[in-house]
């Protein structure tokens, strides 16, 4: 933790970065994102198990970008988000400095996509066994049961869009849920509107979600949104051997094709 503070101070003092996006503490001993702009404030940074928010979404927030060059305290999900955003042309190489931790707990400064890619390879990026078990549970349900399960979950949705707003991959200035000519998705949080919203949201994250879990954590009514994304991660891995957020140059799996793709992928 001390090293993180030192690294942040160094970056700010040397002018290599004008803002360090990291984690700090709130009044009720909560953990929250903080934006350190003065070297003497680097002491406010913390890094522990409670630092779970995916900070990648702040790098393109207008007001944060405005401060100048950004450095970010980067957990694995943050790094994978950066690579995924890079592959979607949302960040440029050498634009962001990632302050990351190696598996043996050393602080490293990663300032190119190549360095981030190499770092990410040191970690396991597949679904955990627990995550796979949750999927199995849903898949084991019969059709009616599954429909009822999701209907019950979706009926709780109040369309606050915290799930979307917390997701680094949801950066569209105008979400498809808000396009109204034509209106694809009903605005009201009734059952029909909620089902369409959730299927649309999940589909738009297929092959892009890096499994940080923020959408589910953000939801004020505890809808298990991560189940939808686990499912897609698993499917893309099984069918195309594809995992999002591992490389800055990989092309989007659902918009590219290979000569050897079989026609059965459409059904």
């Amino acid at each position: 933790m001390l090293e993180i503070k030192q690294k942040a101070r160094e970056l700010l003092e040397s002018g290599k970065a004008q803002v360090v996006i990291g984690y700090g503490k709130g009044p009720n001993n909560t953990t929250r994102a903080i934006f350190v702009r003065k070297p003497e404030d680097a002491d406010k940074l913390v890094l522990d198990d409670t630092c779970v928010q995916n900070l990648a979404l702040y790098i393109y927030k207008h007001e944060v970008r405005h401060f100048g060059k950004e450095a970010v305290v980067a957990t694995l999900p943050v790094l994978r988000s950066l690579l995924q955003l890079a592959s979607e042309n949302q960040v440029k190489d050498n634009e962001i400095i990632a302050i990351a931790i190696t598996p043996d707990n050393k602080v490293v400064e990663l300032d190119s996509f190549a360095a981030i890619e190499e770092h990410v390879r040191l970690f396991n990026t597949g679904l955990t066994e627990d995550e796979k078990d949750l999927l199995k549970k849903i898949n084991a349900m019969g059709l009616e049961e599954r429909w009822a399960f999701w209907n019950k979950e979706f009926s709780k949705c109040i369309k606050c869009y915290a799930c979307r707003q917390s997701c680094p991959m949801c950066y569209c200035p105008r979400c498809a849920a808000e396009v109204n000519q034509p209106q694809w998705i009903p605005v009201a949080a009734h059952q029909h509107g909620n089902i369409e919203w959730h299927i649309m949201r999940a589909m738009h994250l297929a092959g892009r979600c890096i499994n940080c879990g923020d959408c589910a954590r953000a939801c004020p009514v505890d809808i298990p949104l991560n189940l939808l994304t686990y499912n897609l991660i698993e499917e893309l891995n099984n069918e195309f051997k594809y995992t999002a957020g591992l490389s800055a140059s990989q092309t989007y799996v659902l918009s590219t094709w290979k000569l050897e793709d079989k026609e059965t992928f459409i059904r």
Binding site: R146, A206, L232, L236, E239, E263
Partner: protein
């Protein structure tokens, strides 16, 4: 395929969904797909569990608690 999988995971009845790739030159294939799809759907009858949430009337339902 990915979308189909997602629908299935969400509890949508996949027997009612058909995706296919038909080139403009494949008229016969098109006819086959349309015929077989409409036949399956006819056999299955109305999709009651979907209509139960999608009609205008149902959207008027009194919202109580969460």
């Amino acid at each position: 395929m990915v979308f189909r999988h997602l629908l299935g995971f969400s509890g949508v009845d996949l027997r009612r969904i058909t995706f296919s790739w038909v080139s403009a030159a494949e008229g016969a294939k098109w006819a086959d797909i349309v015929n077989s799809t409409s036949e399956t759907i006819k056999k299955l009858g109305p999709y009651d569990s979907y209509h139960a949430v999608a009609g205008l009337k149902e959207k008027e339902a009194e919202y109580v608690g969460n």
